[in-house]
């Protein structure tokens, strides 16, 4: 070991955590009954969850998620971890969709659902917590393509008004 660098432990740093490696790490933590916290990337859940928000995912209860819950899951197509809303809960399968996404991710089997989003932090402040984050009404609206279009139109209108002010 004289030709080797001294062993050491490195906190944090850049890690190749994407796709199945993040899913594996999250699943391992949740299986121990502990919550898992990570930084959300992307805009598919805007405005509920924004790029850079810290999201805490808790293990699922036996009953599984219900319509309106926001869940972390392994995307059936890409294998990556996504955080989207359950818009329809069926027999062992869940249709999930980002609030700001045009279409659903498809039917996700129960074993691909990693956990339930219970907390969102933005700028050091907790934005959502527990059952209050669940929104069945938003889930129903989110199933509609028009809802996304309306949201985007409303956002553009608001931005224009803000620009004029």
């Amino acid at each position: 070991m004289d030709k080797k660098p001294r062993p050491h432990l490195v906190a944090g740093g850049e890690l190749p955590l994407g796709g199945d490696s993040l899913a594996g790490l999250m699943r391992a933590v949740l299986e121990k009954g502990k919550p898992f916290r990570f930084e959300a990337r992307g805009t598919s859940m805007h405005p509920s969850i924004r790029d850079g928000d810290a999201v805490t995912v808790s293990p699922l209860s036996g009953a599984g998620p219900t319509t309106g819950d926001v869940v972390a899951f392994v995307h059936p197509g890409t294998g990556g971890v996504r955080v989207h809303r359950v818009v329809k809960a069926g027999a062992g399968k869940y249709v999930v969709k980002g609030d700001n996404a045009l279409g659903p991710d498809g039917a996700v089997p129960r074993d691909m659902i990693l956990g339930l989003v219970v907390r969102v932090e933005r700028g050091g402040r907790v934005r959502r917590l527990g059952p209050a984050f669940r929104s069945a009404a938003l889930a129903r609206l989110s199933r509609s393509f028009w809802f996304t279009r309306l949201l985007r139109r409303a956002r553009r209108t608001f931005a224009r008004r803000e620009g004029r002010a």
Binding site: M1, R6, P7, L9, G12, L25, M26, P35, R37, F38
Partner: protein
């Protein structure tokens, strides 16, 4: 619990950590704070640290682990022991390993 490393004792990973090998790196997530947090609470080991970690499996006394490493790396036991004890001391303080048996 003693917070000093003893060569005749057996050490292994704590139940309060999740350890995964990701693209050749060992990633340790401590759960002692009640949460696995990749933002603030995630650790990796360098190559030498990995060689030690892989042998700290709760199956044999630390002195035996040191002898194995000394043979593998063709280095004096004393030199290896310094490195191993230094790393294990840090791991023990962070509750990533525990005494077994």
């Amino acid at each position: 619990m003693s917070d000093k490393i003893h060569l005749e004792r057996v050490y292994g990973p704590s139940d309060d950590v999740v350890v995964r090998e990701i693209e050749g790196e060992i990633v340790i997530v401590p759960l002692a704070s009640g949460i696995g947090d990749i933002e603030d609470e995630l650790y990796t080991l360098n190559e030498t640290g990995q060689a030690i970690w892989n042998r700290i499996d709760g199956s044999r006394p630390l002195a035996e682990v040191i002898r194995e490493l000394a043979a593998d790396y063709d280095a004096p036991d004393g030199l290896i022991a310094g490195d191993v004890v230094g790393l294990l001391q840090e791991l023990l303080e962070r509750r990533m390993i525990v005494e077994k048996g």
